[in-house]
Amino acid sequence: MQAGVQAEPVRASAADPAPFIRIDGVSKYFGTFRAVENVSLTIRKGEIFALLGGSGCGKTTLLRMLAGFEEPTKGRVFIDGQDMTGVPAYDRPVNMMFQSYALFPHMTVEKNVGYGLKHERMTDAQRKDRVREMLDLVQLSQFAHRKPHQISGGQRQRVALARALARQPKLLLLDEPLAALDKKLREHTQFELMDIQHKTGTTFIVVTHDQEEAMILSDRMAVMDKGEVKQVGSPTEVYEYPTNRFVAGFIGSINFAEATVLSVSGDLAAVDVPALGGRVTARAVPGIAAGQALTLAVRPEKLTISRDRPDVPNAVRGVVSDVGYFGRDSLYKVRLPSGTVLSAHSANARRAAEAERVATWEDEVWLGFDPSAAILLTG
């Protein structure tokens, strides 16, 4: 692992399939509070892995256990095949970028970045070179002699990143890396972060509560709730194929309706959905049988809205109760005869005046969706 910048770019697709980080049945209890409950994850070398969840879901505790600030109550953590049990934070091949950045206020940018190298076996010249290399990587060379309070928030974030990467850790932990930045800067920094990860090939674990951030940044992610991992998968898998109600509802917006399975035939299942006024065809999921109660879920953008009955297997009629115009798309709230309100997102692909739009308040419309768009959730 010489000079990280020159390392071959490694992405998840090209990554070693053997798990690089293994979290094995890890639990963490604070008194009677179960912060993390029996979490098992494997993370591949060179991937950006996101831990996504609301506040108090245990994602930060899990990160702190990887860093060595907390010891698991149960279970073990392996990094590159090494058992990390009992290994203190200062001996782990792991570095962390803190949410508050935790830059040393009494040291210059240069000293901050070089701090971790004090303990590395290298000559002063090598140390200097590494610091310069890191500052170049985050484009902060001209601020080397400033103190943290003399630079902007975005620059501080990059100093924190450079400091964490300077020791060329096997694993970089990022705790809400973009939370303290404003929206514009955040979007820019997201791509910068991915670019730097690409250049260094370091394995990243990112903790975030922001689903968009997790979707954009990560190769794979784990969605957590109440200390448990609810689903692990690529952003597409998690968004398009959620396996339970929590994940489906947490990522993006979605319409839920209670359903009962009528019959299963091959790839398709017929379900009875009282809220939608009857029979709906949906793509079957393994392990369902006739008579089983489950949840039908449809993403708003998968619903088409039209004046006439659409030519798809599933169509329901309703009245537009609300319209939200966002510019690039519009949100329609449609009240069905059963009283259920469905949300439908429709892209404003054509340039149209208000009156020319597909529907407005109190219009009678049809909502249609393909069986493949209907998600059946058993959990």
Binding site: Y90, N95, S100, A102, F104, R163, R167
Partner: protein, 321 residues
């Protein structure tokens, strides 16, 4: 009709109403700010000016026992010259500074771990421990010094305990009957450390308590063992607290009168004792004033150093978002 006429003609408000209005507008703010200034002027600046003026007078057998212009000039600089010529004053200053510096250092060495410990215990334990730090103030200072006198006396259990420990450690022919603690500089430093320790702990605690513990974690994450974390992060960031505590101990310890008077060595007087003796026994008010002025300037130096650091810290804080 009559109303509109009244509105147009300007009637000057009553004098008292004007004053009241001014007072409501800014009187309270001015009064609040002025109060400490008035206090300091009457009880600090004015007496200091009197003492300074007195230090340029000459001692005369009058009442009050000083006059101006006894010698050739109106002002008499001889008192200040004597400060440097007479060994008594120089020695008193040196002993004072040495004792106070030693006490300050010991307070720091004892107080720092205590203050750091206070920040690392649970909130409920912290309140109890803070109470214990402040608790001695509830007993008379004089009483506490007398208690130490009792402990240090040659016949006390404390002295006998220390003596037996000493005798147990050294060969028999070195054995002693008791340890001479009273009337030594050791006793002065010991009691000063005991008395002023809270003044070291409290500002240090206030400083250490504000330190962000994530910085410690960051240092540890970057490979520093706990002692290096302390040296690299905690210690440098607590310098303002160390300076504040050191000033609060050193300055009063330097001018301390009661502690050296009760437990100190009478042949090695500290400066407070010298001033007191010059005023009361020798009735040389001008000389006493000169010593006081010199002591004050000796103290202003460190004080300015402290305010300088404090201002810098404030400035730094203001620049942070």
């Amino acid at each position: 009709m009559s109303e509109s006429v009244e509105a147009k003609t300007f009637t000057p408000p009553q004098r008292s109403a004007r004053i009241r209005r001014w007072f409501n507008r800014r009187g309270w703010a001015d009064l609040t700010i002025a109060t400490p200034y008035v206090w300091l002027t009457i009880f600090f600046l004015l007496p200091f000016m009197i003492v300074t003026a007195m230090s340029f007078a000459s001692r005369t057998p009058t009442s009050p026992p000083f006059s101006f212009g006894v010698h050739d000039s109106f002002l008499n600089f001889e008192n200040f010259a004597r400060l440097f010529q007479d060994d008594l004053y120089r020695r008193a200053f040196l002993i004072s500074i040495r004792n106070a510096a030693l006490a300050t250092l010991l307070c720091l060495l004892i107080g720092y771990p205590m203050a750091l410990g206070l920040t690392r215990v649970s909130r409920s334990a912290r309140n109890i421990l803070l109470m214990l730090v402040i608790l001695p103030f509830w007993t008379s200072f004089l009483l506490r010094v007398y208690a130490w006198m009792g402990l240090m006396g040659t016949n006390s259990w404390f002295n006998r305990l220390l003596t037996s420990i000493y005798n147990g450690l050294v060969p028999d022919d070195w054995a002693i009957r008791s340890i001479q603690m009273m009337h030594t500089n050791f006793a002065v430093v010991l009691v000063t450390v005991y008395s002023y320790l809270p003044f070291m702990i409290l500002p240090l605690y206030a400083n250490l308590e504000k330190l962000d513990l994530t910085l410690d974690e960051a240092a540890m994450d970057l490979g520093s063992r706990p002692y290096r974390v302390f040296l690299d992060v905690t210690l440098p960031l607590s310098i303002p607290g160390i300076i504040a505590g050191a000033m609060l101990v050193f300055i009063p310890a330097c001018g301390e009168l009661i502690i050296p008077g009760l437990v100190g060595n009478p042949s090695q007087p500290m400066i407070g004792r010298v001033i007191s003796d010059e005023f009361a026994s020798a009735r040389d008010w001008p000389m006493a004033s000169a010593v006081s002025v010199a002591l004050l300037f000796l103290m202003v130096g460190p004080m300015m150093l402290y305010t300088h650091f404090e201002a810098k810290a404030q400035e730094k804080k203001a620049m942070e978002p």
